[in-house]
């Protein structure tokens, strides 16, 4: 019988960047799955995408000023969450329009900062790192910080999950039961900002929506209970991230010494699982 370790490329777990990638991506996948389920059922997928894109301005700025990219991504994502909360539009169409304009403005700033990165600091890799991630280049010191932030956010999500669910299902009933609907909505936006920050660190700002929405969307097709949907989304997200890390690491062996990007493999796995979940959906809806 062949052991699981024999399937992995030799040196996989001994490699420092791989261990950092596995740690940060685990955290990002867990939080994104938890937040993603609520983001979908609250109809805020577009807001999640907008926060990710706006956070890219922070990442680009961090490269320009030489600070930890995590703080850059996080700062702009939290600022974006505050702006979305202040806009506070209730009607879906108007809210989407405001979110779209906000997203465009954020990407415009990102374009300017990335231009400065290239022209003033000669960091030509910044654009790829910010937009599509550079998981094997995560500094070891950032792993503990990411794990701490992720764990804190998950505790907050666990604390607010019931009011959040009630607000998502029926905000008017939540208000009657004494839930501060606006406060819960803002807390969710903050957790969303943290989730997209950690995702941006792993698969990049542009692709972080895939980690936020993909596993949750597949899980929601299969599960009838919120707890099971979250659990399933976590499993899918972590499997996609770890599978992507392994495939990217292994690709050095068959791609002529130039490994393929981790983000590509993660997004491909998520997309495949999402398609497969559609095959089982009808059966699940019947039972």
């Amino acid at each position: 019988m062949v052991g699981a370790g024999a399937l992995l490329t030799p040196g996989f777990f001994e490699n420092g960047p791989v261990r950092a990638a596995l740690g940060v991506s685990f955290c990002a996948a867990m939080l994104s799955a938890m937040v993603g389920v609520f983001t979908i059922i609250r109809g805020q997928s577009f807001a999640g995408h907008a926060l990710a894109d706006v956070s890219s301005a922070g990442g680009a700025g961090a490269f320009l000023f030489g600070v930890n990219p995590l703080f850059g991504f996080l700062g702009l994502a939290v600022l974006g969450a505050g702006v979305l909360e202040m806009v506070g539009v209730q009607r879906a169409r108007e809210r989407d329009l405001a979110t779209g304009v906000f997203l465009g403005a954020g990407l415009g700033v990102t374009a300017l900062l990335l231009y400065f990165d290239v022209t003033m600091r000669s960091t030509s890799g910044a654009a790829i790192s910010v937009m599509f991630g550079s998981m094997f280049a995560i500094p070891p010191g950032m792993v503990k910080l990411s794990l701490g932030l992720g764990a804190g956010a998950m505790v907050v999500m666990a604390m607010i999950h019931r009011p959040l669910l009630l607000c998502a299902a029926a905000p008017e009933l939540a208000g009657v039961q004494g839930v501060n609907v606006r406060l819960i909505g803002f807390l969710h936006l903050l957790m969303l900002a943290l989730a997209v920050t950690l995702s941006a660190m792993t698969i990049g700002a542009i692709l972080s929506t895939a980690l936020l929405i993909g596993p949750a969307a597949a899980a929601l097709r299969l599960a009838r209970r919120p707890g099971r949907a979250i659990g399933l989304a976590v499993v899918i997200g972590v499997a996609a991230c770890w599978g992507g890390v392994w495939l990217a690491y292994d690709s050095y062996n068959w791609s002529g010494g130039h490994g393929w990007p981790v983000s590509f493999f993660i997004v491909t796995i998520i997309f495949t699982i999402y398609l497969a979940s559609g095959l089982r959906r009808d059966r699940t809806m019947r039972v």
Binding site: I41, R162, E172, A174, V176, Q177, V179, L220, R224, R225
Partner: protein, 283 residues
């Protein structure tokens, strides 16, 4: 009009306006424990605004609302809102929705407990919803969703249950079942029930109190006290005819009764203009 000796719900002189437009004008009525009351009025008459004022979701310009003699709800009120659209993909079974009525406002983790499950099952049984307890709530029919929402509202054992147009968009059988269920809750379990409806007829045989709203004003009492030509004419400010056709009550503006061939067909309720200037309410 009649007031209960010990009012569970007391609405006193409530007035409400939006952007200078008067929605409720000095509305007063009271309901005793176990009363089954219809809040009747045509669309736009202020029924939902009055319910939201009772719930504290709207701040009235004047007046006071007391539940069990106190301001504020204190968990004493259950509410079933109008037009609650539950997404079919919402990962929530009927029993989960009911459980959220118990602890959906609480922070922290919820562990599966036998007592919690028993309470949920009791509520589902009380509204005859155990058969679809494990189905996604968004995939249920309108009548089934109403049962689940009533169980959600009842699980904290409220003294007062408010339902905003719970009979709208239901088929005749579901309407009869929901009315029977609500009547049982009030008469057998002592829950005070206030049901808003634009059509009073499904409630006529069951309600023992009625609050009739028109142009922001209200008149209340027993159905026989309120649904009378002189009372409703005074409420509307012009002559109103109260006509009984095949056991149904029609409230029509003066002169409209002459056109009743329109409403004497096999389906009279489907044939009349609901506009209040022409027909005040289509019961």
């Amino acid at each position: 009009m009649m007031h209960e000796a010990r009012a569970l719900l007391s609405v006193e002189d409530v007035s409400l306006a939006y952007d200078g437009r008067e929605v409720l004008r000095n509305v007063s009525f009271s309901l005793g424990q176990g009363a089954f009351c219809g809040l009747i009025g045509s669309n736009g008459s202020g029924k939902t605004s009055l319910m939201r004022s009772i719930l504290g979701l709207e701040t009235s310009q004047t007046g006071i609302v007391l539940v069990a003699g106190e301001r504020g709800l204190h968990g004493d009120v259950g509410y079933v809102p109008q037009k609650l659209q539950l997404d079919v993909d919402l990962p929530l079974r009927a029993r989960d929705m009911v459980a959220l009525g118990l602890d959906g406002h609480k922070f922290g983790l919820s562990w599966p407990r036998a007592k919690r499950r028993r309470l949920v099952d009791e509520m589902l049984a009380a509204v005859n919803a155990l058969d679809f307890a494990d189905q996604r709530v968004g995939a249920l029919s309108g009548g089934q969703q109403q049962r689940v929402l009533i169980a959600h509202a009842l699980i904290r054992r409220p003294k007062l249950l408010l339902l905003d147009e719970p009979l709208a968009n239901l088929d005749l059988r579901a309407v009869a079942e929901i009315v029977t269920l609500l009547r049982g809750l009030s008469h057998e379990h002592g829950v005070t029930v206030l049901v808003s409806a634009h059509d009073m007829n499904p409630l006529l045989g069951s309600m023992d109190r009625i609050v009739y709203l028109a142009h922001g004003k209200a008149v209340s009492g027993t159905p026989s006290e309120v649904v009378r030509t002189e009372v409703l004419s005074a409420l509307y400010g012009y002559h109103i005819d109260v006509i009984r056709v095949h056991g149904r009550v029609l409230v029509v503006a003066a002169g409209a009764a002459d056109e009743l061939p329109l409403v004497r067909g096999p389906h009279p309720d489907n044939s009349v203009d609901e506009h209040p200037e022409h027909v005040a309410a289509i019961p």
